[in-house]
């Protein structure tokens, strides 16, 4: 025990001695003549004499420690007190040998000190500021009250919008090409001096709704609606996932997928939701969408909801599309990104709703295959109207869904006369939407009778009406049943539509027609000659000098005149919402063709348009100098 203890003491002494030894030696070497150092040296000598390992072993532990401590203290004190002197010496020495060095070092030190002080001051100021800027209760209340007084109005009117209320026309019924209007309808310009008739016409010719195949007057569809209402009632009372899937929905899905030759179809209960949800279900953050500038609002909302990267190309401009795609490819090379890293989609419409133009699908499909993009096609207005068998713009171009267009979405509200939208594609495409199509998953399903109507409508387009009629045979009276059998269907129906479209374009552009002549140089047709949607814009000559609103107003007046004087319903599109559109089309008159319009109806339209144009454009509406050339 004691042996161990002494060992420790010895070690301690040894280390202390050693450290002192080094200190003193350093001091000795640095300042050789210093007195204290001399005395240190003597101590050192004493130490080394007394504290040899052997002697320490012999010494009593206690005395050794105290001795050691005393000596240590003494030595340290002398060492410390000698520092300023040494420093001063060293300093003076340095000043003599290298004054520049001293100068720089001094400046540096001063700078550091200033910096520290300033920083502290800044901190202090910030603290004060923070303390002062923290609002007290009174100020917060003041701010709250102030905001409350200055808050914006809910649904504040857009600035470029005029005060007039939108079209207040109320339809009382649809029969053939006739729309009957309710006497309660509010006309757009009811107090205009020019129009003597302030009464709403009872019945007008329908060039306004998207009912291309005249489904509204089809007796088969009506009977179908009645019989299925009787079976299913009206609503479906639930989303598809939760007992809202009724066999009628399954029927329409399989019916459409066999009509178009796809693996499957998925039914949405609203046409616009179908395209919005479809785009948003597939494109996600980090993916790339290359979108035609002219696509409709529903697709664009889907594009913005998807949060994907978006690039636009000029409307229907294949060269511009190639430019955009090549730019992406260059970026791939620059960023060393593989094309398989992101999903890429082209988003186009088959027949553009807002333009009446047709998509050059052949070129687009070529480009998409060259650059490895998938195609999302919204065929809402071409489905049922384009193509030899009414299978939409893909058929028109000799293409096939799934093979050339991965995702095809369309609304069944136009040619099919139902309500809702459908997306078709491969099994993968369809099944994925059943969980991630927001409008499918989170919305109640379509009323079953509307799905049945769509089934009947597809059969009508296919020319298989007998298939449906045989179910009605027992339910209908003989004369009613006969009425069903006289209904035209299939290719007859489509030919009728095509004839009507070409007749409509022919008459409007016929230079020998007395009324069509009045339209020349005033209104120009901007849509595709085979499109069932026909757009008439003001010619450049007429439009120059007019703002967008004024143009819209002129066209509103023309449409109004057509309705009141000519008893023809056309739509003026200038007042439609522009908020979501990438490129806003010029204000237009929209004329839609359908199968129940006759030649006389078209004559009436042209007459009404001619008269309206004359009445509106040749009168000096805005105090502008509009010269009639004819």
């Amino acid at each position: 025990m004691t042996g161990k203890f002494t060992q420790h003491v010895h070690n301690l002494g040894y280390y202390l001695g050693h450290s002192l030894h080094t200190t003193i030696r350093r001091a000795y070497h640095d300042g050789s003549t210093s007195e204290s150092v001399v005395s240190n040296a003597t101590i050192f000598a004493w130490l080394s004499k007394h504290f040899t390992p052997k002697e320490a072993e012999c010494a009593a532990a206690h005395t050794a420690v105290t001795k050691c401590n005393q000596i240590c203290l003494h030595t340290l004190l002398t060492a410390v007190t000698s520092i300023p002197q040494q420093y001063k010496k060293w300093w003076l020495n340095l000043l003599q040998t290298d004054p520049l060095h001293v100068l720089i070092e001094t400046l540096l030190i001063v700078f550091c000190i200033i910096l520290v002080i300033l920083q502290r001051r800044a901190d202090w100021r910030m603290d004060n500021e923070r303390k002062r800027s923290k609002l007290n209760e009174v100020e917060v209340e003041e701010l709250l009250a102030e905001w409350k007084n200055n808050r914006g109005k809910l649904g504040a009117t857009r600035k470029d919008h005029e005060e007039e209320v939108g079209n207040g026309l109320i339809v009382d019924g649809v029969e053939g090409s006739q729309l009957s209007l309710s006497p309660d309808s509010k006309l757009l310009f009811s107090d205009e001096e020019g129009t003597n008739k302030r009464v709403v016409p009872r019945s007008v010719i329908n060039f306004a709704t998207h009912d291309y195949l005249s489904t509204s007057s089809s007796p088969t569809l009506k009977t179908m609606a009645l019989t299925s209402l009787e079976k299913y009632g009206c609503g479906s009372c639930g989303p598809r996932g939760f007992y809202g899937t009724i066999d009628a929905h399954l029927e329409i899905e399989s019916c459409i997928s066999s009509f178009l030759g796809t693996d499957g179809a998925i039914l949405y209960s609203d046409g616009a939701s179908a395209s919005t949800s479809t785009v948003a279900a597939f494109a996600k953050r980090g993916d790339l969408l290359v979108v035609d500038e002219g696509v409709n609002e529903a697709l664009l909302v889907g594009v913005s909801l998807s949060r994907a990267n978006v690039r636009y190309f000029r409307h229907n401009d294949v060269n511009d599309l190639r430019r955009v795609l090549e730019k992406v490819r260059h970026q791939d090379v620059a960023l060393k990104r593989k094309p398989t890293d992101q999903r890429r989609f082209l988003v186009v419409e088959g027949l553009y709703k807002n333009w009446g133009t047709m998509c050059p699908l052949n070129e687009i499909v070529k480009l998409k295959e060259e650059f490895c993009y998938r195609l999302i096609l919204d065929d809402s207005h071409a489905m049922g109207t384009m193509g030899e068998l009414g299978r939409g713009s893909l058929e028109r171009c000799g293409l096939k869904p799934m093979q050339h267009c991965e995702i095809l979405t369309f609304s069944i509200e136009n040619a099919f006369g139902s309500v809702g939208g459908i997306t078709v594609g491969s099994e993968e495409v369809v099944d994925h939407q059943r969980l991630s199509g927001a409008g499918y998953c989170f919305s109640a399903s379509a009323p079953p009778f509307l799905s049945k109507v769509c089934v009947a409508s597809v059969k009508r387009l296919e020319g298989n009406l007998e298939e449906i009629h045989k179910d009605f045979r027992t339910k209908l009276k003989e004369n009613e049943y006969e009425k069903l059998e006289t209904e035209i269907s299939g290719s007859q129906l489509l030919n009728k539509l095509r004839d009507n479209i070409s007749n409509l374009y022919g008459t409007l552009t016929n230079s020998s027609h007395p009324y069509a002549l009045k339209l020349r140089n005033r209104l120009v047709i901007t849509s595709h000659p085979q499109s069932p949607i026909l757009y008439l814009c003001l010619s450049d000559q007429q439009a120059t000098g007019l703002t967008r609103n004024e143009q819209a107003s002129v066209l509103d007046r023309i449409a109004h005149h057509c309705l009141v004087e000519g008893e023809v319903a056309v739509v003026s599109t200038g007042r439609h919402v522009k908020k979501y559109l990438q490129v806003v089309p010029d204000p237009c008159l929209r004329v839609t063709a359908n199968t129940s319009q006759t030649k006389e109806d078209v004559e009436k339209l042209v007459k009404a348009l001619g008269e309206a144009v004359e009445a509106v454009l040749c009168r000096n509406v805005f105090g502008l100098d509009i010269i009639d050339e004819d």
């Binding site: 309660d184 009206c234 996600k284 991965e406 919305s443």
Partner: protein
């Protein structure tokens, strides 16, 4: 051979319903009586009302309301719930007081009403087993994926390999195209959802009334796809197997157009007022009549030629029903939210939305470009804090003051069964000048003494709620949605909302359905059907909720709300519960991960006015058995 091959799925998927359990009525009677006797006495409830530190300002008004809402208590002879009436009413009124005041003291006192906050009150046992369940599922899924990759064979590999049947499509070539669905993105669908796919999307072949015919489905590829069973005789010949015979003998077996269907009590559809049940009496003639002058679809948008006189009529009725100046009707409830919110708000505005709001609201808010904050579900204190801070701080980065603030809440939260704390929300919003947007998708027609929704139920003046939105899919048995507000706002919506300007209008036939059902609810058809429906809905819901709570199930939501979610927690219980119920002839909705938080899987019952007490008692008896089988009594014991 072929036949034999096809029998297997039959045996697997369609285990014949047990023909035993025939003493149903006696049992249910005895359970109901025991429930009553074992229940705490009702005076306890009234004690709490008087004890609550801030007495509800119109304590009498609750009683009045109860009296108004339950005219049947006056004529006990007809009241099917006469024996439990007192307890039901006291529970409902206690719950209302507690909800309106958010008074924890009341909760502590009343054992019966101990509300369970779904976000905190999951027991540790349930939480760990749920996590464990998901871990096992995920690991198994990954193992299967790895095996499929290793052996180049698997259910989901067909998509990657070139398709032999069809032509190869360019986009199938994954060396140039990114896969349409990344494997981790649809992992959940493949390995978790498909396992229990048969519990969702069940097709029915009838009206969505109180009793529905659920079409039988089978899967020939391990639940990857489901197909309809179709005609039974296609699969097996009649005299061949005893399987088929016993299957056909099953209690709930039926046929519709030759297809095998299962007759089930519908506890899933939003048919709150039961218009799908008595449609022939209430709406049929009008609705079918509307087809004589209107087509099924207008083929045009509201702004153009898509407005029929029926649309205007609906708008007029809705406006007067909810107590607003004007209303606009659009085609789809989802779309109404998704297009109206972007019209009302834009960049520079702030939307403060309840965290449990429906996807349509979320979509609409995101499409609007406004800033979005969420506040804790039904927590007006949190809302107040957010509003104060938002107004004082202003917009992010620019620090400009907000142009306007819109607070969006729902009347009844469809996954929680809880109604909105509207009075407090409106108070807070009024204090700070925020606008209130109330989505009454589930509450309109289903809550309040005369069905006028959450405003009426919570005693809030509709004038204080700036925008009232609702749908016609639920209580009215139709489709579409409305927005009711003052003339100015609706006028602007008519012009500037994409849903009115571009999207096609609601079918006039559906409009007629809405008009007819409104007339019934408002009593304008000259009958008491509407009032009876409202009473029946409230009683059925409260009775069902009371009995479920008595069973010790973990029930969410409030009394008087027709939606009652029951917590299942474990992923495996989702499928087990749904299949057990279907086997016993109950069509129930189960909800799993994407729609609710991952731990909070639940079953959801939607009660209808079309249900009778006998039907509900039968359902409750079956549920009682299932609760034992699946260990669901989480409110009674930690281990369920």
């Amino acid at each position: 051979m072929g036949n034999k091959h096809q029998i297997n799925p039959l045996q697997m998927e369609l285990a014949p319903p047990q023909p035993s359990s025939c003493t149903e009525n006696d049992d249910s009677a005895s359970t109901s009586t025991t429930a009553v006797s074992s229940a705490p006495s009702s005076p306890k409830g009234s004690l709490i009302i008087s004890e609550s530190p801030t007495p509800f300002q119109s304590e009498e008004s609750i009683d009045d309301e109860i009296l108004k809402a339950s005219p049947l208590s006056l004529c006990n002879s007809r009241d099917p719930y006469a024996d439990v009436r007192q307890r039901m009413e006291s529970l409902a009124s206690q719950d209302q007081v507690r909800h309106l005041h958010r008074n924890p003291a009341a909760t502590n006192h009343s054992k019966e009403l101990k509300s369970i906050n779904p976000h905190t009150d999951i027991t540790i046992f349930a939480a760990t087993t749920t996590y464990l369940g998901y871990i096992v599922l995920i690991i198994t899924g990954h193992i299967r994926d790895i095996c499929a990759r290793f052996f180049r064979k698997g259910r989901y590999r067909a998509n990657n390999a070139p398709n032999n049947n069809n032509q190869t499509r360019p986009s199938d070539d994954l060396s140039n195209y990114a896969p349409l669905l990344k494997s981790w993105e649809n992992f959940y669908t493949r390995r978790l959802y498909h396992r229990i796919q048969d519990c969702f999307n069940r097709p029915i072949a009838s009206r969505p009334g109180a009793v529905i015919s659920v079409l039988e489905r089978v899967s020939f590829d391990g639940n990857k796809t489901m197909s309809l069973l179709g005609k039974i005789s296609d699969h097996v010949e009649d005299d061949e197997g005893s399987d088929l015979q016993s299957y056909k003998m099953g209690k709930h077996y039926d046929e519709s157009d030759g297809r095998a269907v299962r007759t089930c009590l519908n506890l899933g559809s939003y048919n709150y007022l039961g218009f799908a049940d008595d449609w022939d009496v209430t709406c049929k003639s009008d609705v079918m009549g509307s087809l004589s002058c209107f087509p099924s679809s207008m083929g045009s948008s509201r702004l153009e030629f898509g407005t029929s006189s029926l649309h205007r009529e609906v708008e007029r009725i809705v406006a007067s029903f909810v107590g607003k100046e004007d209303a606009i009707v659009l085609n789809m409830g989802f779309n109404t939210n998704a297009t109206i919110i972007p019209t009302l708000t834009s960049r520079g505005d702030l939307i403060v939305s309840d965290e449990l709001n429906h996807t349509s609201i979320v979509n609409g808010a995101r499409a609007s470009g406004a800033s979005i904050r969420t506040f804790r579900h039904n927590d007006d204190k949190d809302l107040e804090g957010i509003l104060r801070e938002a107004i004082v701080v202003g917009q992010p980065r620019t620090r400009r003051p907000w142009n306007k603030i819109l607070v969006i809440v729902e009347g009844i939260y469809s996954m929680e069964g809880e109604y909105c704390n509207l009075r407090n929300v409106v108070d807070v919003c009024k204090r700070y000048g925020a606008y209130v947007y109330l989505d009454e998708a589930h509450s309109i027609g289903a809550m309040g003494a005369s069905g006028r929704g959450c405003c009426e139920y919570t005693g809030v003046n509709p004038v204080d709620v700036d925008v009232l939105m609702g749908t016609f899919t639920k209580s009215f048995g139709g489709m579409g949605g409305y927005v009711a507000a003052n003339k100015e706002i609706v006028g602007i919506l008519r012009k500037e909302c994409a849903g009115s300007s571009y999207h096609n209008s609601l079918s006039p036939v559906v409009c007629q359905q809405i008009i007819s059902s409104f007339k019934v609810i408002m009593g304008q058809d000259g009958t008491n059907i509407g009032r009876d429906k409202l009473t029946a809905l409230r009683d059925n819901s409260n009775y069902f909720r009371m009995r479920l709570t008595d069973m010790g199930l973990h029930v969410l939501g409030n009394y008087d709300s027709p939606i009652m979610p029951v917590m299942l927690y474990n992923p495996t219980k989702i499928a087990a519960f749904s299949r057990e119920c279907l086997k016993r002839g109950l069509a129930v909705v189960v909800v799993g991960f994407p729609a609710v938080p991952i731990l909070m899987s639940r079953a959801r019952f939607c009660i209808s006015a079309g249900h009778t007490r006998d039907e509900l008692d039968r359902a409750l008896k079956e549920l009682d058995e299932i609760a034992d089988l699946l260990k669901l009594r989480y409110a009674r014991s930690t281990f369920g």
